[in-house]
Amino acid sequence: MPLIAGCSDAHLSFLDPQGPIAAAQRQHFWWVIAITLTVVLPVLVLTPLILWRYRYGGRARYRPQWEFSLRADLAIWGIPLLVFAVLATLTWRSTIALDPYRPLVSDQPPLEVQVVGFDWQWLFLYPEQGIATVDELVIPAGRPVSLRLTSASVMQGFFVPALGSQIDVMNHMVTRLHLEADAPGVFPGRNMQYSGKEFYRQRFVTRALSADAFADFTHQVRAQGRSFTPEVFSLLMAKNTHAALARALDGTETAAITGRARQTDDAGSPADDSTPLRFKHFPSGLFEAIAAHRAPDWSQDTSSLSTTRPLSPDSLLPASSPLSIHPALAAAAPTGATP
C-alpha cells in the first residue's frame, strides 16, 4: 500500500502496524482477502467474457433449455464450501488468539491502565504509578498494556489502530483490552462510536516510551503534574472538548465552559488540542467509582503511593530529560502553572 505508507500522517493504520496485535491483524486481513479472492476472481474475470462471448448477434452456441449440470453444480457448491472451511478454521483460531480480553504473553508484567471515556475526552488512570492523563496514553514500549475501560457518558469506541483492536466503552460496564507497542513512537487513537457533536474531536495520542523514559515520565508527572481536584472532575463530566478543558484548567475561560457545551464555531485553535493535561494524583478507586455510578472518594488519593524508582533530579529538567528524545513529547511538556 504505497499510498498509505507514503502519507505524511504516521502510524494511522494497522497496515503500518506498531505492535504484535496489529501486525497479526494485518496478516489476517490479507489472508482473508487472498482466500476469498479464489471465489471472487472467477466472477470478475468470467462475467465480462461470458457477456461478450454469448452476446446477442454473436456466433457462440445457444442452448435456451440448458438448466443443469452435475459437474458445474458440484463445483459451485463444493468450492465455496472448501473456502468456507478454510476461512472458518482461520476465523476460529484468530478470534481466540486475538481476543481483546486475552492477556498478552510476555516476560514482563503488564502495565495496568484504566480508561474512562467522557464527552469528549479520554481520561487515563495509572493505578500503579498514581498518575492520570487526559487524551494522552503514555505506555512503555515492548511491555504489554492491560486496559480496563468504562464510559462516564454514552457508548464510545476506544481505538488505537496502529497497536490493535478497538473495544466498546460503556457506561456502568467495564470492558478489557490488551495492547503492546513494539518500539517507542507516537500513535493516534480515537473514539470510533458517534457520541455527539464534538465526537470528531475526541482523539488522543498514544506515546510509547522506552522503559527508562516511561519511568522518568511518571516521576516527572508525579512531581510537576496538576492536582486532580473535584473541579477537574466536574469539568470532565461537563461536555467539553480537550481545548475547552485545557483553557478552563488554566483559568482563562472557566466561567464560559462549565455547564453547557460550547459552540463548535469558536472552539479554540487546533493547537489547544495538544495542551497536555497530566495529573500527579487522582482519588483512589476513581475508575471503580465511575463504573459503579458512585461519587469519587476525595478523602484518599494516590499521592501516598510509593514510587518504584527514586526521582532523579535531572528528570525534572526538560532539557536534559530523556523525554526530550521524543520531540512530540518534549513539545507537550507541562506549561501552565500547576493549580
Binding site: 491483524q25 462475467t47 454469448y54 446477442y56 484468530s94 481476543d99
Partner: protein
C-alpha cells in the same frame, strides 16, 4: 411559551424553525447551515403547495381520490409505494452528496455544523432503509407477485392500503422534520444511551422513533399480506417448484418481514417508554442495559439486510433469464439458496457488535455463521453466470444493472467476509470500511435491482417502454459513480477514519474524500439521467407504446396480459403446466387463446382506510414528538373509530360482469392478432408493440 398555547403546541416553539439558531447566533457557519436547512424546508413546503395547486388547477382531486388513494388494486398501491420511494431516494441522495461535500472540505472543519451533519447521516440512513428501500421493494412485490402467481389481488387489499398509509405517514414525519427541526442525530440505528432522554431530550429522537415505528408496522403487515397471498392464492397448477424466482424471493422476504420487523417495533416502543414514561430499560442506571436494545435492533437489523437484498436477487434472476433468452440455470439450487439465506439471516446478528466485549468463542461462532451465508450467496452468483452461459445476451438497461451487480456485489461480499472475521473486524468496525461495505451491498444489490426491475416492468405497468439511451446513461453513471464514491471509503476505513465524523484532522484522508465527492457528483448525474429518462419516455409514450404486453419475450405470467393489465389482471385465472408458465404457453402455441367462458369477477371495493391511517399516523407521530397530547388522542380516536366502522362496512366488494370482461379481452386479442411480432434485434425500436418472435434454439440471430 405561555400556558395558553402550551396545551395546543406542546413543546413546539419558534426554535424549531430551521433558521432560528442562526438568528440567535449569526456566526458564518450557522448562517450557511441555516441557508441549507431552510432551502430544504422550503423545498418541502413549496413542493406540497405545488402539488396542491397542480391538482386543483387540473381538477384532479376526485380522480386522485377515486383512482389512486382509495384504490385497493395491488398494482396501483405498488406504483404509489415506488413513487414514494423515488421521492425519498431523491432527498436521501442529495443528503449523501451534501455529506460527501462536507467531508471533501472536512479537513479541520468544512462548512456544516456537527449537529447538522448528525441529522444528515441519520435521515440519510433512516430514509434509505425505511422510506426508500422498503417501499421500493414492497411496491415491486405488490405489483409483480400477484401477476406472477396468477391471482387478482393480495389476500388483504385493505390491509395493503393501510401498509402504504403507514409508510407514507412515516415518510411524511421525516419530511416534516425538515420544516420543524431537528431530526435525531443518533444514526439510523439509534443506539441508547445516546438516544435516551438524559443525553438527548429534544424532539429529534422522538421523530425518529415514530417514523421508524410506523414503517415497521407497515412492513409487518405487508409481510403477512405477501406470505398469505403466496400460500393461498396461487393459480391452479402453480406448485412450489413452478413459482417464478422473484415470487420465491418475495415469499422469503415476507417471512423475514413477519419475524424481523416486530423486534424493531418493540425496541423503538421500549425506547419510547424510556423517554416518555421514565422507564429504565435501556438507561445506564436503575437496572437498564442498552445492550438489550442493540440485540433487539440487530435481531431486526440483520434479517433486514436480507429483506432488502432478496427481492433484488429475484429481479436479477428474472432479468438474467429473460435477456439471455434462456431458462434459469439451477432453479432448485437458487430456491434452496434463497431459503438458506433466509434462515441463516437470523443466526448472525451478533456480528454487528463483535467489539462489545463478549467472549471470543461467541464472536468466532457468529463470524463463522456469517461466512456460511457466503455459500448460498456464492452459489446464486454462479447460477446466474451459468444462466448467461450459452445464452443470447441482450445488453438492455436491466442487463447493464444486472451485470454491474454481478461484479460489484462480489466485491462487497469479499469485504463482508473481511468484516466477518472478528480479529479483523476489531480494526475496521465503525470505520468507513463498514460504510463502504454495506453501500457496496445495497447500491449494486438492492438499488440496481430495483432500477433494473423498474426498467424491466415499467412497460408492463404503464403500457410504454422507458427510453433506452437515457436509461443506459443512468445505469453507467450509477455504476461509475458508485465505484468512485465508495471504493475510496474502503481505503479511508483501513486508514482508521471513523464513520459519522463531520470533520477530520488527517491530511492523508483528503485525496480519498475528494475522489468520493467526484463519485457522489456522478451519482447525482445518474439521478438526473433517471429524471430525464422518465420525462423523455412520457413524452414519447405513443411511439414506444406496447399494448400487447410482452416486450422482452418474458417467461412468467405477468407478461401474458395486456399492458397496463386490466384491474382484474386475468379475465380467467390461468392454469399453469410448468415453470416459466408463459414461455411454455408460447412454445406450445397456447398463448393468447380465447377462454371458453367469462365468469363475473368479484373485486375489492374502494376504501378510504389507507388515507385515514396515513393522516392519523402522521398526526399521532407529530403529536407524540412535540407533546401535543390532544392531537395524539384525537388521531388515536379517529383510527379506532375507523377500524370499528370498517367492521360494519357491508359493501366490501364489487362485481364486474363477465360480458364487460369478455368485450375488453376480445378487443385486446384482436389487437394481438393484428400486431406484427418483432425480433429481439428490434426490441428497443418503435416496432416493439409487445409481441415477440421468440429466439430459436441453435439459430444465429
Amino acid at each position: 411559551m405561555n400556558d395558553s398555547t402550551h396545551w395546543l403546541l406542546g413543546r413546539l416553539d419558534a426554535s424549531a424553525l430551521p433558521f432560528w439558531d442562526a438568528l440567535q447566533h449569526p456566526t458564518t457557519k450557522n448562517v450557511i447551515n441555516a441557508v441549507i436547512a431552510s432551502g430544504a424546508a422550503s423545498m418541502v413546503v413549496l413542493g406540497a403547495i405545488a402539488v396542491v395547486i397542480g391538482l386543483t388547477w387540473t381538477r384532479r382531486w376526485g380522480w386522485l381520490w377515486r383512482e389512486w388513494l382509495t384504490s385497493p388494486d395491488h398494482k396501483k398501491i405498488g406504483i404509489m409505494f415506488i413513487a414514494l420511494a423515488l421521492v425519498m431516494l431523491a432527498r436521501a441522495v442529495i443528503e449523501a452528496v451534501l455529506m460527501r461535500l462536507q467531508q471533501a472540505f472536512g479537513l479541520d472543519g468544512g462548512f456544516l455544523t456537527a449537529d447538522h451533519f448528525g441529522q444528515l447521516f441519520t435521515t440519510h440512513g433512516t430514509i434509505m432503509v425505511f422510506f426508500m428501500a422498503m417501499p421500493f421493494l414492497t411496491g415491486m412485490i405488490n405489483y409483480v407477485m400477484p401477476l406472477q402467481i396468477g391471482t387478482r389481488d393480495l389476500s388483504f387489499p385493505v390491509m395493503n392500503q393501510i401498509s402504504l398509509g403507514l409508510t407514507a405517514a412515516g415518510a411524511a414525519v421525516v419530511m416534516i422534520s425538515l420544516v420543524l427541526a431537528p431530526f435525531s442525530t443518533g444514526g439510523w440505528t439509534g443506539y441508547p444511551t445516546f438516544t435516551g432522554h438524559a443525553a438527548n431530550p429534544g424532539a429529534g429522537v422522538d421523530y425518529w422513533i415514530w417514523a421508524v415505528t410506523l414503517s415497521t408496522l407497515s412492513s409487518t403487515l405487508s409481510g403477512i399480506n405477501f406470505a398469505v397471498t403466496i400460500y393461498k392464492r396461487r393459480a391452479p397448477g402453480m406448485s412450489w417448484m413452478r413459482l417464478p424466482l422473484f415470487t420465491w424471493t418475495a415469499l422469503c422476504t415476507a417471512i423475514l418481514m413477519i419475524f424481523a420487523m416486530p423486534p424493531l417495533t418493540v425496541a423503538t416502543a421500549l425506547l419510547a417508554l424510556d423517554r416518555y414514561l421514565d422507564f429504565h430499560l435501556f438507561t445506564a442506571d436503575m437496572g437498564g442495559n442498552m445492550m438489550n436494545y442493540i440485540n433487539l435492533f440487530w435481531a431486526f437489523g440483520h434479517p433486514e439486510v436480507y429483506i432488502l437484498i432478496l427481492p433484488a436477487f429475484g429481479i436479477f434472476s428474472e432479468v438474467f433469464s429473460t435477456f439471455a433468452g434462456k431458462t434459469l440455470y439451477g432453479y432448485k439450487a437458487l430456491v434452496i439458496a434463497t431459503l438458506a439465506i433466509a434462515v441463516l439471516s437470523f443466526t448472525v446478528w451478533l456480528h454487528h457488535f463483535f467489539t462489545m466485549g463478549q467472549s471470543a468463542h461467541i464472536n468466532a461462532v457468529f463470524g463463522i455463521a456469517t461466512m456460511l451465508i457466503g455459500i448460498p450467496t456464492g452459489v446464486k452468483i454462479y447460477d446466474w453466470m451459468l444462466t448467461l452461459f450459452r445464452g443470447r445476451i441482450r445488453m438492455s438497461v436491466p442487463m447493464i444493472y444486472a451485470s454491474g451487480f454481478l461484479m460489484l456485489f462480489v466485491l462487497g461480499g469479499l469485504t463482508g467476509i473481511v468484516l466477518a472475521v472478528p480479529s479483523v473486524d476489531y480494526q475496521v468496525h465503525n470505520s468507513l470500511f463498514l460504510v463502504a461495505h454495506f453501500h457496496n451491498m445495497l447500491i449494486p444489490g438492492l438499488l440496481f435491482g430495483m432500477l433494473a426491475g423498474t426498467n424491466f416492468w415499467f412497460p408492463k405497468a404503464f403500457g410504454f417502454r422507458l427510453e433506452e439511451r437515457w436509461g443506459r446513461r443512468a445505469a453507467y453513471a450509477w455504476i461509475i459513480g458508485f465505484m468512485l464514491a465508495f471504493f475510496p471509503l474502503y481505503a479511508l476505513g483501513v486508514l482508521g477514519m471513523p464513520r459519522r465524523t463531520v470533520a477530520f484532522f488527517t491530511p492523508a484522508y483528503l485525496p480519498w474524500t475528494l475522489t468520493a465527492l467526484v463519485g457522489a457528483t456522478i451519482v447525482l448525474l445518474a439521478m438526473a439521467c433517471l429524471v430525464i429518462q422518465l420525462w423523455v419516455s412520457v413524452r414519447d409514450r405513443h411511439l414506444n407504446a406496447m399494448p400487447i404486453g410482452d416486450p422482452w419475450d418474458g417467461r412468467s405470467l405477468e407478461w401474458a396480459v395486456s399492458s397496463p393489465p386490466p384491474e382484474y389482471n386475468f379475465p380467467v385465472i390461468p392454469e399453469v403446466y410448468g415453470r416459466d408458465a408463459f414461455m411454455l404457453e408460447k412454445e406450445r402455441g397456447k398463448a393468447y387463446q380465447v377462454p371458453d367462458e367469462f365468469p363475473d369477477i368479484v373485486l375489492p371495493a374502494n376504501s378510504p382506510m389507507g388515507v385515514i391511517f396515513a393522516v392519523t399516523g402522521t398526526a399521532m407521530a407529530f403529536g407524540l414528538t412535540w407533546y401535543q397530547w390532544w392531537m395524539v388522542l384525537l388521531a388515536a380516536g379517529i383510527t379506532l373509530a375507523a377500524v370499528i366502522a370498517r367492521g360494519f362496512c357491508r359493501n366490501t366488494t364489487r362485481t364486474l360482469s363477465g360480458e364487460e370482461v369478455r368485450r375488453t379481452h376480445l378487443t385486446w386479442l384482436a389487437q394481438v392478432r393484428a400486431t406484427t411480432p418483432v425480433a429481439r434485434s428490434r426490441e428497443q425500436s418503435t416496432d416493439n408493440r409487445g409481441l415477440p418472435v421468440p429466439p430459436v434454439e441453435g439459430a444465429i440471430q
